[in-house]
């Protein structure tokens, strides 16, 4: 009994991925990010995000797994604008995960907060519980004007109406890299081998993706940067995205 309890406790402890192979983490350097939105389109292309149309956009029903938020500070002429890319934080203590009555969203052993489209019944509770507002509901079954559907990525499903969706850290790319590593008889994926679409496209290399369990990985180094912080840290969701705050040198 005591061992079972210990096991359970260990399982519940944040960072329990230690016993597994990876703890996928992303760092976003706000000092590099220019808000150019390349990542937004990269994600749209990679993950078959629908084109919702003007009317749906007007109702705030856009589906953008990654978006750029902007915050102004000051008044003209001493005014500053800051960008911050916002995407699923893959929280270790994810509020959305307790919300789902059917386990359509859960934490996998690699530290990913996954969304199982097939299992989702559309209670939308996860979206209410998510403090980062990065969960997107399919209000309709969206369609592509022919022949735009030929672009759809065959590695990613197209979601139907009534299903919640969100950033997956490009799990299809993670899978592919893991398979490739296995084919090469490597135990682990090499650092930098996996780049989610947003990370790949980022012109300023503001985003870094990798395994936090590997202390030498680039992302681990970024995570140790003194500029690092988590958005809404006080909510104790322990996100897997480390932001590096922008440097302000007021001259």
């Amino acid at each position: 009994m005591s061992t079972a309890l210990e096991k359970f406790k260990k399982y519940r402890k944040p960072g329990y991925y230690d016993k597994f192979d990876y703890h996928w983490t992303m760092s976003i350097d706000l000092d590099r990010c220019t808000g150019c939105e390349a990542c937004v389109v990269a994600c749209q292309a990679e993950n078959n995000l629908p084109i919702v149309g003007e009317q749906q956009f007007a109702m705030r029903r856009e589906i953008k797994w990654i978006r750029i938020e902007r915050y102004w500070e000051g008044e003209y002429p001493d005014i500053k604008l800051q960008f911050i890319p916002m995407l699923c934080q893959h929280c270790d203590q994810a509020p959305c995960e307790i919300a789902c009555p059917v386990f359509a969203t859960y934490h996998n052993q690699d530290g990913l907060n996954t969304q199982v489209y097939n299992r989702c019944i559309g209670t939308r509770t996860c979206a209410v519980y998510c403090p980062y507002e990065v969960r997107f509901f399919n209000w309709f079954t969206y369609e592509w004007d022919e022949p735009l559907e030929q672009q759809l990525n065959p590695d990613v499903t197209v979601r139907e109406k009534g299903v919640m969706e969100k950033c997956t850290f490009c799990i299809q790319r993670i899978r592919q890299a893991k398979d490739a590593a296995k084919d090469d008889s490597r135990r682990r994926v090499r650092d930098g081998e996996i780049k989610p679409a947003c990370v790949q496209s980022c012109p300023t290399e503001a985003m870094v993706f990798g395994d936090l369990n590997d202390p030498d990985s680039q992302v681990s180094k970024m995570a140790r940067n003194p500029r690092g912080y988590h958005v809404l840290e006080e909510l104790n969701t322990t996100p897997s995205i480390v932001y590096l705050k922008r440097v302000h040198t007021d001259g």
Binding site: C120, I121, G122, T125, V128, E133, G162
Partner: protein, 441 residues
Amino acid sequence: MADYVEPTYAEVNQDVLRAMMETGPKYWATLGTSIAVAGICFFIPWFYQLEVGVGVAGMNRSAVWGTYLSNFIFWIGLSHSGTLLSAVLHITNSSWRKAIYRSAEAMTLFSLITAALFVMVHLGRVWFVHWTVPVPNQMGLWPNFRSPLMFDVMAITTYLTASSIFIYMGSVPDFAAVRDASTGLRRKLYTIFSFGWRGTAKEWHTLGWAYTFFAVLVIPLAVSVHSIVSWDFALSLVPGLHHTVFAPYFVTGAIFSGTAGIVTVMFLLRKYMNFERYIREIHLVNLGKLLVLLSLIWTYINIMEVFTTWFSGSSYELEALEWRLTGFYAPMFWEMVLFCAVVPLLILFKRIRTSWRSMLIISILINIGMISERFIIVATSQPRKFLPNAFGFYFPSAIEISITIGSFAVFTTLFLIFVKWVPAVSLYEVKETLKPLRRSR
């Protein structure tokens, strides 16, 4: 009350059973209208939504919950008083309950059904709703018992089951009375319904014991159901929802709204089913007193909610509070305060609490206020959570409003069908309150 003449046993049977068995054109017209409204306003829009997607409602990214969910809470709330009140009063031996409890319990049942319908309407993929039920399956998948929604499924199904049994059990002797008073098919049917009730002392004893047992069981259930519904909200991190006071807040609100609902239903039964002799001023006055008490508790909890929010000093909570008190939906908030905290105080005046008409108006106003409360909880907190850049706005669409209106017709339809199948006033319990020696006039 000087001119009040107590009915005889026979008259009780006559009055109540007549209301059940004799159906006039007025009833058919009401039922027809009610079914038509339910169909046009509720079911057709719902089927359209099933076909096209939940997008026909006005919900959007930050406000993914809308009127469907606020109506769900409202109907769950409305369900509260019936069974709970009946059970509490039964245990405390308050004899004034006896004329009203049957219809109150029916109200519970039908509001629960309406609430369950709203869950269906709310879901994105309702055709998979059975996945919330813990049934062993080939995929080895189970529902998530950590989810407050799962608690909900459990609580509501339990409550629905318990309430159904409670109301059915209490009706068994009356079903026997119907059986005895009728012929033909109806007699056969009610023979089955009444489980062969003969009215022996042993049967009465068993019924009494079982009824009390269920009454005791139902009370914590009723409290737990709405506590659990409140956890759907309170277990989130959302500013304005993440409050420990939510469980008592919801339970109080629920009983409050349910009691007001009973007053409304009582008025209608009395007026249209000619139950003046059974549903009397004492009921009205007692329920009125209860309403004042509940209103005061409700007001206190509301003040506490605002106070703790302010006391937290957290930017998230304060912003949410400010938006609630002064934002777009502020008029609705203040309307709620007026209807639920101020108007019920009028009941303190005797002239008002003894007037059926003024009590009807107050009871309806209270429920309008309670609908607003639920809507405000849902609509003002979600669109303004943590990231200001993602702040949004929610306004219900025509379809949502239509379905909301239609739900009242669904409830009315169910109730209208009920009064023709089950004696709306408990025959045997009313008889218990009568002076035993009077046989006939």
